[in-house]
């Protein structure tokens, strides 16, 4: 039972910046983005052009939704691929540099 628990934790818990850590963070970011997308937060990014949301300039919830969606979208397009590409590069570099050293 305890081993099962440990296995489950290990799925998400990896040494900082290890290849597994890079991939797991990419997966978390992409899942987060997909959830926000499915929740329809895309509609709320009009703040980028200075246009208030449908609820008006004081609809702070919609503005926050828009900001979070925009950040997760750019993370999905910019950060996620970098993390995924970095993982195998990191394995290769480690094998080459550290074993050599």
């Amino acid at each position: 039972m305890e081993n099962e628990e440990k296995k489950r934790i290990r799925l998400f818990w990896h040494p900082f910046l290890s290849p597994a850590w890079l991939v797991s963070r990419a997966v978390i970011l992409i899942i987060f983005f997909i959830v926000l997308h499915l929740l329809g937060f895309r509609e709320e990014v009009s703040f980028l052009s200075g246009t208030p949301p449908e609820g008006g300039v004081h609809d702070y919830a919609a503005i926050i939704k828009g900001v979070v969606y925009a950040l997760s979208y750019f993370s999905a397009w910019v950060l996620v691929p970098i993390l995924l590409i970095a993982a195998p590069i990191s394995i290769g570099l480690k094998a080459f540099l550290l074993k050599k050293g």
Partner: protein, 404 residues
């Protein structure tokens, strides 16, 4: 040092080395990925002054037609824009009328349907202007001080209403609009002639090049439609603005100046791109020169994505309702980038337009529902400007053909 301590120290060393390797891997990955992102947003739209309407333009138009066919949706969209800037409500109408006119000229079988929407927009605009006055379409400070030229009139409102009427009449004559167009154009010309730099106020003691260029287009339309002889005045206007208003550092026309011609805001992206497009009807060489200079000063390309800054290096102005929010460091301006689409299309700069469209697809958050496209980061006026930039050409060609 005990064995236990030594092994801890070694472990730490190894860990730091691993982190260093990972950081190096992240840098290499970024160098590989960042210049490649734009390949996923390659726009296939082709700039042409005639020919069929692109799929993107059709889908964008679909959304606008829905807005003007559904009073509730229209109310909702206009209210959102008016909450921030009443001018957007007005300009959204102008650019949509211009876009639909071009679409009807490109695809004559759509003319009847588009004329219906164009008339609905014009009738509503004239009604609102009549009932609420010109201030309804202006920012609040239009009533905060007195206008130099009396009686007070805004060339922003007069010029764009005249353009809407002129575009409609160039598409198909409508007698009930003829008088409205002629009287507005006559009045604008008279007041421009009286002004020290042949430019009228858009706001109290504030003349905008954008608005006066639009008024000049309306005067040119009048020559074509009604045989008025404004060419001489338009040439004098061109000479005046070239001699007295052009910014010495950049060679660009400024965005705003006082009634007597004192420069207020220097060259500004949200103004100069459209101004250059208007100048195409009056002096092609000058227009091209303004476009090239604006591109050199304001266009930015990073990793295959293009956008436009609001201000050139030599003039740092504020972030305002015209520029839209400016993203720090990159200096991306929504207002300037939006207007840059028009100029890139008008000057058939395929490379710049494709790159701008790529940026729009990446950072504009397109959303398609039931065949209608909108950009969530934008609004109705932004999408109308974009639509116009994708279909423009035939109307200006018609004016040039008939006017020469």
């Amino acid at each position: 040092m005990s064995d236990k301590d030594r092994s801890f120290e070694e472990k730490m060393k190894l860990r730091f080395k691993e982190i260093g390797v990972a950081l190096l891997a992240l840098i290499l990955a970024a160098c590989l990925w960042l210049p490649s992102v734009h390949f996923f947003f390659k726009a296939s739209d082709v700039v042409s002054k005639s020919g069929p309407i692109s799929k993107r333009a059709k889908e964008l138009a679909q959304r606008h037609l829905k807005i003007w066919q559904d009073p509730k949706l229209r109310q909702k969209e206009l209210q959102r824009m008016r909450g921030r800037n009443a001018e957007w409500d007005f300009m959204g109408r102008t650019f949509l009328v211009l876009a639909l006119s071009n679409m009807a000229l490109r695809s004559p079988d759509t003319q009847a349907g588009h004329l219906e929407i164009i008339d609905a927009i014009i009738d509503d605009t004239l009604k609102v202007e009549d009932e609420m006055g010109m201030h309804h379409f202006l920012l609040g400070y239009s009533q905060s001080s007195s206008w130099i030229q009396q009686p007070e009139r805004s060339i922003f409102v007069d010029g764009e209403i005249a353009i809407m009427l002129g575009a409609r009449r160039l598409l198909a004559e409508k007698l009930s609009y003829k008088d409205e167009f002629q009287s507005r154009v006559r009045l604008m010309k008279k007041r421009m002639e009286e002004a020290p730099v042949y430019c009228n106020e858009s706001y109290p003691n504030e003349c905008w090049m954008f608005c006066n260029s639009a008024a000049a287009v309306a005067l040119k339309m009048s020559d074509v439609l009604d045989g008025s002889k404004y060419t001489e005045f338009l040439n004098a206007w061109l000479n005046k603005i070239r001699q007295e208003l052009v910014d010495k550092k950049t060679g660009l026309l400024p965005s705003s100046f006082s009634y007597r011609g004192r420069i207020m805001d220097g060259p500004e992206g949200s103004s100069i791109w459209f101004t250059a497009h208007c100048l195409q009807l009056l002096d092609r060489e000058f227009a091209k020169d303004q476009y090239e200079r604006a591109k050199a000063e304001l266009a930015v390309s990073i990793c295959g994505f293009s956008y436009a800054k609001e201000w050139p290096e030599s003039f740092r102005g504020p972030m305002d309702v015209d520029s839209g929010p400016i993203i720090p460091v990159l200096e991306v301006s929504a207002g300037s980038s939006g207007m840059a689409f028009i100029a890139a299309g008008a000057f058939e700069d395929q490379e710049f337009l494709s790159s701008l469209l790529g940026t729009l697809d990446f950072a504009g958050f397109p959303l398609k529902t039931e065949g209608a496209l909108k950009y969530c980061a934008s609004n109705q006026v932004g999408d109308a400007v974009l639509l116009y930039s994708l279909v423009q050409g035939p109307l200006w060609e018609k004016i040039l053909r008939k006017g020469n």
